[in-house]
């Protein structure tokens, strides 16, 4: 273990390597790289939530000016697949085909047109004649689960590739659960018991660059797809299956991408652009409009959570029951994994012996749930961390103290780690690093927890309150996901670092260069980083599950260590020393006895041109055996207008233990971005639907994501710990902090107004109603 203070490149706020070119607007994104003569694709989307296509006539459309290709169920192969970008085989239903005879939500695919101009493609869509047999739609939890409910996936070919529960005839996508101890006994032994339901809304990631892809054939007839994706390797595999072409025939390139947050952990456009390119031998381009991103892109799963708790007067939690119904919408790609994380990333946070966890994912005729930063933990934490405050109040304990006496600490384990994996058991784990207590203390000091008063002490129209919550997440999917890296040395002592890891704007290219530089005792600017190109870089599962720093970072560190061995060997030869008599320092191999040193440049020149020639290079892979949680304590101060229910967040504090912050500035950036996204998810963001199941607010202005003016003061405090299994002590940071705002703000609203909100987002109306309700008591 290298102490953080001795690190020269890691734990430094190295400037993001792509930032200058990005700030100059260079041609770095998918849409900037599209050939000018590419065909434009437009999609005819289903206007019905649930219908069978009785007939479809594309002949007139095919004859329209400029139209080169029309795709629909009648002229593409029917190959069932799963669009979610996950390890193979996925723990998810194969329930999607490129085009189906049935549509399952407003915004489902019906037919695609590729034409010379977007206007011609749109005109041709109007000429497609479709007759639908409209079926009864299913829009809510109870409707989906009742006996005799319409079956959304009645196609005979849907299946799951690994043995996990899948009951499409009952609209059940997946089930997960676990039991520990005796839940009923724990409830009986409690001094107080609670039973409360919470609901979270549909939400969208809103990357400023929406979904966008293009494809062309290379001179050898291979399909080259350039796409804004978080999962280039999974996308290659899924497109190969969907088009029935070998993986070898496909190259997927991820250029810079304009944000993802999970929504691009999906093969969503790539099959269509590839098919059009194959059929027409022309480059084919497709970008969704913002309304299409909202309606036909991926979303955060809405959940209904029932929380049952038993608590003793001394502050022991004697039982927890967590029952979840998770709405995956029309397709179930992330149905199992998201709600599995609702348990595995949440239940272990507190000491409770008696546990009941039962979760189902259901199909409805609504937009499709996907991966979204926080990944199921976010929804569950709203319920759990609200209830922790409720329990603490009931037994008359400060909620901060209640959390401190009950949370998990280093050296402890939890049955959920082993019980809840991704379609198979998880990995048992003992918590290594954990600075949660310090996070709580530092956050409390920053927000001024000491000045917090009970709701009964507040008067007047505008009342202020302080709330908190604590959280854990994970770092990578253990025993399933793999990341790899390769490094080669150049003439001048610079290096090419090739990683499959996918920088979606987080700065992973930069931090991976820092990790390599630290191991090789040089500087980050000596690395030419190239990532996420299935022809050119080693495999990596992609950017999800908070794994790039911890998993891909360790792959990079191991690769650099191998390269270092080779450099030491050449350096030792040049210095006429044994390998154990030399070390690396400041881009040199140095004799430990101080008798001499040779530069990396001289070592590279010798190995490439002069003596005992070979390419100094290595490739390494990494699979993790645990998923060490980062921890965080969040604090919100709000002001509630008692007359209108309007909530204003005045200040927000996030104290985060992410192990060693490889790049503190980027870690802060991840935290602040997650926090503000979480705040607007808590206060304004939700899908609204009309009676037909059509989303009615599909624009930034109507959906209402936060702008600079809406931002409260956000204070990030990085609290160090050292995770022995991570690269230079690092754990993950990107997801965890989106979990905090919803419960912290709910608790702050209660502290201000004495009114509790159980349904998010906390719109003026909902808060106002909660205030009226509380007055009745």
């Amino acid at each position: 273990m290298k102490p953080v203070e001795k690190m020269k490149v890691v734990h430094q706020s190295v400037k993001k390597i792509d930032a200058p070119a990005l700030s100059r607007g260079k041609h770095l994104f998918t849409g900037d790289l599209t050939p000018p003569h590419a065909l434009h694709i437009k999609m005819l989307w289903s206007p019905h939530a649930h219908a069978r296509i009785k007939s479809i006539d594309v002949r007139a459309a095919e004859k329209m000016p400029g139209v080169k290709c029309v795709l629909y169920h009648g002229n593409v192969p029917r190959i069932i697949h799963c669009t979610a970008g996950q390890g193979y085989p996925e723990p998810s239903p194969y329930d999607t085909v490129m085009f189906d005879k049935k549509v399952r939500y407003v915004g489902d695919r019906v037919a695609a047109v590729a034409a010379e101009t977007p206007e011609q493609a749109l005109d041709a869509l109007d000429a497609i004649k479709v007759q639908y047999e409209v079926l009864e739609p299913v829009f809510d939890y109870d409707a989906a689960l009742r006996d005799g409910a319409p079956v959304i996936h009645d196609e005979p070919d849907a299946f799951v590739p690994i043995p996990v529960p899948y009951e499409p005839k009952k609209n059940i996508v997946a089930k997960v659960g676990m039991k520990a101890g005796d839940f009923e006994k724990g409830m009986r032994e409690a001094d107080f018991t609670f039973d409360q339901t919470f609901e979270t809304p549909y939400a969208q990631h809103c990357p400023i660059e929406g979904y966008i892809s293009w494809a062309q054939l290379d001179p050898h007839g291979r399909i080259v797809i350039t796409t804004s994706t978080q999962v280039p390797f999974h996308t290659r595999r899924i497109v190969a299956r969907t088009l029935d072409v070998p993986v070898q025939k496909i190259r997927v390139i991820k250029p810079r991408i304009g944000g993802g947050f999970g929504c691009k952990q999906e093969m969503l456009l790539e099959d269509v652009v590839a098919m059009v390119a194959l059929r027409t031998r022309r480059p084919a381009f497709w970008a969704l409009t913002r309304a299409e991103v909202f309606r036909s892109g991926r979303t955060r799963h809405p959940m209904r959570l029932r929380l049952r708790y038993g608590v003793k007067k001394n502050g022991d939690i004697s039982a927890i029951g967590l029952d979840i119904i998770n709405n995956t919408g029309a397709y179930g790609g992330h149905g199992l994994t998201v709600m599995s994380c609702s348990g595995s990333k949440v239940l272990p946070l507190y000491h409770v012996e008696n546990i009941h966890f039962d979760a189902k994912s259901i199909y409805t005729n609504l937009p499709v749930g996907g991966a979204y930063r926080g990944f199921g933990a976010t929804q569950a934490y709203f319920g759990v961390e609200s209830m922790v405050d409720v329990m603490a109040e009931k037994i008359g304990m400060d909620p901060l103290r209640f959390r401190k006496r009950n949370h998990i600490v280093s050296g402890e384990s939890h049955p959920a780690f082993e019980a809840l994996g991704e379609g198979k058991p998880g990995a048992p784990m003992t918590i290594g690093s954990c600075s949660l207590d310090e996070c709580i203390d530092k956050g409390a000091r920053e927000i001024g927890w000491d000045r917090r008063t009970p709701p009964s002490a507040k008067t007047g129209r505008f009342r202020r309150g302080i709330g908190m919550s604590i959280h854990m997440q994970g770092s990578s999917v253990p025993e399933i996901d793999m990341g790899a890296a390769s490094i080669k040395m150049n003439d001048d002592g610079s290096f090419n670092l090739h990683v499959g890891a996918t920088d979606l704007g987080t700065g992973s290219d930069t931090i991976l260069a820092q990790i390599a530089a630290e191991e090789l005792a040089t500087t980050a600017d000596k690395f030419i980083v190239y990532s996420s190109d299935t022809d050119m870089t080693p495999f990596d599962k992609g950017a999800y599950a908070s794994s790039t720093t911890y998993l891909s970072g360790e792959a990079v560190r191991k690769t650099a260590a191998k390269v270092k061995e080779q450099i030491l060997k050449v350096g030792a030869e040049m210095l006429h020393k044994n390998i154990d008599e030399v070390d690396v320092d400041d881009a040199h191999v140095v004799a430990r006895d101080g008798s001499g040193k040779v530069s990396y440049q001289d070592i590279a020149l010798r190995s490439l041109y002069e003596a005992n020639q070979f390419q100094i290079a290595a490739i390494e892979s990494h699979v993790t055996h645990k998923s060490p949680p980062p921890f965080t304590a969040h604090f919100a101060e709000v002001e509630v207008d008692m007359e209108t229910g309007k909530v204003r967040v005045l200040k927000y504090v996030a104290a985060v233990d992410c192990g060693t912050a490889i790049n503190p500035q980027l870690s802060e950036g991840q935290t602040e971005g997650a926090v503000l996204n979480g705040i607007s998810y808590a206060l304004t963001e939700e899908y609204r639907f009309d009676e037909s199941g059509k989303m009615t607010n599909p624009s930034f202005s109507a959906y209402n994501i936060f702008s600079l003016r809406d931002k409260p003061e956000i204070k990030t405090i990085l609290v160090p710990s050292y995770e022995e299994t991570g690269p230079f002590g690092a754990k993950s940071v990107s997801e965890i902090s989106i979990n905090g705002p919803m419960p912290s703000i709910a608790n702050a609203i209660y502290n201000a107004a004495g009114a509790r909100v159980y349904q998010a987002p906390f719109t003026q109306e909902r808060v106002w109603r909660a205030i009226q309700e509380s007055k009745k008591k």
Binding site: P20, S23, G25, I208, R256, R290
Partner: protein, 161 residues
């Protein structure tokens, strides 16, 4: 094809002539002609990714018809130069760590430039109002906010940061 029409305007200080489709937006015209630093975000003027400066004012080029540029002066991100030195606003955003995915950054830079050109030392309220039209989903604005305050402060101190 649509009937094409010729217009001319000053683009990044140089008088240029373009063939336009009467229905096309300035965003499409610019991107079609290689000025791709102007990004497509929402096509409804809500996100600011397509911001350009028109006669000194930051505008969403997705809401401006191409023909409306006739005779005007337009500055795109390419107009800030490609030399070794970055513009002070670009540099401040990078130094503060305000560039994550970077998709909103060119628009953010141009909104800021229009603001600082008009008032080199905007106060906090002015920054909030002037930068309100540029959405960023990555940063939570915290580092954008501090970059803007630092540029303003440096102007107050005679260019020293």
């Amino acid at each position: 094809m649509m009937k094409m029409k010729k217009i001319s305007f000053t683009l990044n200080g140089v008088e240029k002539e373009f063939e336009i489709d009467p229905n096309e937006r300035l965003l499409a015209l610019l991107r079609r002609n290689g000025y791709k630093g102007t990004k497509y975000g929402c096509l409804e003027g809500a996100c600011g990714a397509c911001t350009v400066i028109m006669d000194g004012k930051a505008v969403a080029s997705c809401l401006v018809f191409a023909f409306q540029a006739q005779g005007r002066s337009i500055v795109t991100i390419e107009g800030l130069g490609d030399g070794p030195e970055l513009h002070e606003i670009q540099q401040a955003l990078i130094d503060e760590g305000a560039v994550q995915c970077g998709y909103c950054t060119p628009g953010m830079v141009l909104s800021a430039k229009a603001m600082f050109d008009e008032n080199p030392t905007p106060d906090e309220e002015t920054i909030k109002v002037q930068m309100d039209g540029n959405l960023c989903r990555c940063t939570g604005y915290e580092k954008i906010w501090s970059a803007m305050k630092k540029v303003s402060a440096s102007h107050r101190n005679g260019g020293k940061r």
